[in-house]
Symmetry: C2
Subunit: 269 residues, 2 copies
């Protein structure tokens, strides 16, 4: 079995993959979220792992947008606590430049302002790339995972430097079909509504009518017409449940289209 | 009168400022969105201009998050068509590295894949910074505004390279109080709901009950507790309108708090 994920190695996506699948399968780190979708769609990988949401920074919009044109289904979620670490090959006082991916820098914004106000902060394409630079460049530090420090032989100078103590990222496992009900499942759908008073309300009322608990709503631009949105909704239940089926039938009456992105076990680890 | 904006000069925010205020006032380009909020809150600037949403890429989440702890009000919106341009000081074939801000690169993703698949793409902190690099570094190109090409003496090699022909960014003018009704206004509010079935539905039903047209909903993590969200809603009407007042009173019954971010003319230019 082959699992594709958003690489490079030692990123938080890599840690999510290991948490879910252990370390005995074949893993393919890929450069972009779209590459992960493509590899799974073409059968070059059985499953893909991509980030969807961070509890501090919010949606990973590129992943949401990929579902618009993809027929892939969500098979599982992985919830990973994110712990950022300051690391370098030099002493802490010697750090003049600090590297990391924009999302990680955003999650450490307050810590950086208080602890390293005069250090030049430089954005990289991945936290692993930041660790590589900290290995090779003098007076450079990185913010990255403990796995990256280990892989590149860097000293962890400060642990858990993210601003929110509850910093958690949710990853999705994508595949070609979604699993059977387990009794504690979650379903993700996307839909579009017409531009009229109460249109969004009527879609959300479809869930309330059948006592279905929405856990999340996200809006994304359709990219087809300015200020036209797609809505992504997560709710508790499996799309094979009778009650969910009724709600989805009701929802279809109030939308231009509904697409079921998948039903999967509602686990938090 | 002093207007602070998200700098540096020649960014799209700068173009939005000129569109709204002309070129005779005093403008202060600032390095971060939070600096713009701080300058206006402390009275060092009368108004601030920050991006809130792009029609292709979606919300500028940092701006949304600033309203959580700020008492500033939205006074106006500016809607600016965004036209990205490929520019360099060398011929097109000589470009080996291409620089721009991540949001601009995202808006040109398909164009880049088709037209420059083998060029190294490097993220910068602003499109103006990208233009500066294209000026000083051999074999470097930038994607930036026409204003940046003019300011740094670069040749525009390709125009309008954004993927969506309807690429528009909405900016907000923030100040210390919002204006009187004009008869065609928009209001922005934020609120939080309790975690129970139908909670979000009941808030949206408050708008439908009084026939108020929601134009936008955005959810953002509260950053206080994982998977707890704040909702940001835009709707037509001014918060001094009788019908809007009734809806906001109804909304308050179904939320933990409601904060009015401002009412402002609903202009699209």
């Amino acid at each position: 079995m082959i699992i594709a994920y958003l690489g490079p190695e030692a990123t938080y996506s890599h840690m999510a993959v290991i948490r879910k699948f252990g370390s005995s399968l074949r893993y393919e780190p890929l450069p972009n979220i779209s590459d992960v979708f493509t590899d799974v769609a073409k059968g070059r990988a059985d499953y893909g792992v991509v980030p969807i949401e961070n509890s501090t920074e919010g949606a990973v919009t590129h992943t949401y947008d990929m579902f618009v044109d993809s027929e892939l289904k969500i098979c599982a979620q992985i919830v990973l606590p994110i712990r950022h670490n300051l690391m370098a090959a030099c002493p802490r006082d010697a750090i003049k430049k600090l590297y990391s991916i924009p999302q990680v820098l955003a999650q450490c914004r307050q810590w950086l302002q208080v602890n390293m106000p005069h250090v030049e902060v430089i954005e990289t394409s991945s936290s692993t790339r930041a660790a590589q630079i900290a290995r090779s460049e003098p007076n450079a530090g990185a913010i990255a995972s403990a796995l990256a420090a280990e892989m590149y032989g860097l000293t962890i100078l400060d642990e858990n430097i993210q601003d929110s103590s509850e910093n958690v990222t949710r990853f999705l496992v994508i595949g070609r079909k979604y699993p059977q009900p387990t009794g504690n499942d979650k379903t993700s759908v996307m839909y579009a509504v017409q531009d009229r008073v109460g249109a969004l309300h009527d879609t959300i009322a479809s869930f309330k009518k059948f006592k279905i608990n929405m856990t999340k709503i996200e809006s994304r631009p359709s990219k087809k017409k300015a200020w036209e949105y797609y809505f992504f909704v997560d709710f508790l239940g499996h799309c094979d449940d009778a009650r969910v089926k009724k709600a989805l039938t009701e929802l279809a009456k109030h939308t231009m289209f509904v697409k079921i992105l998948g039903s999967y076990p509602n686990v938090n680890g």
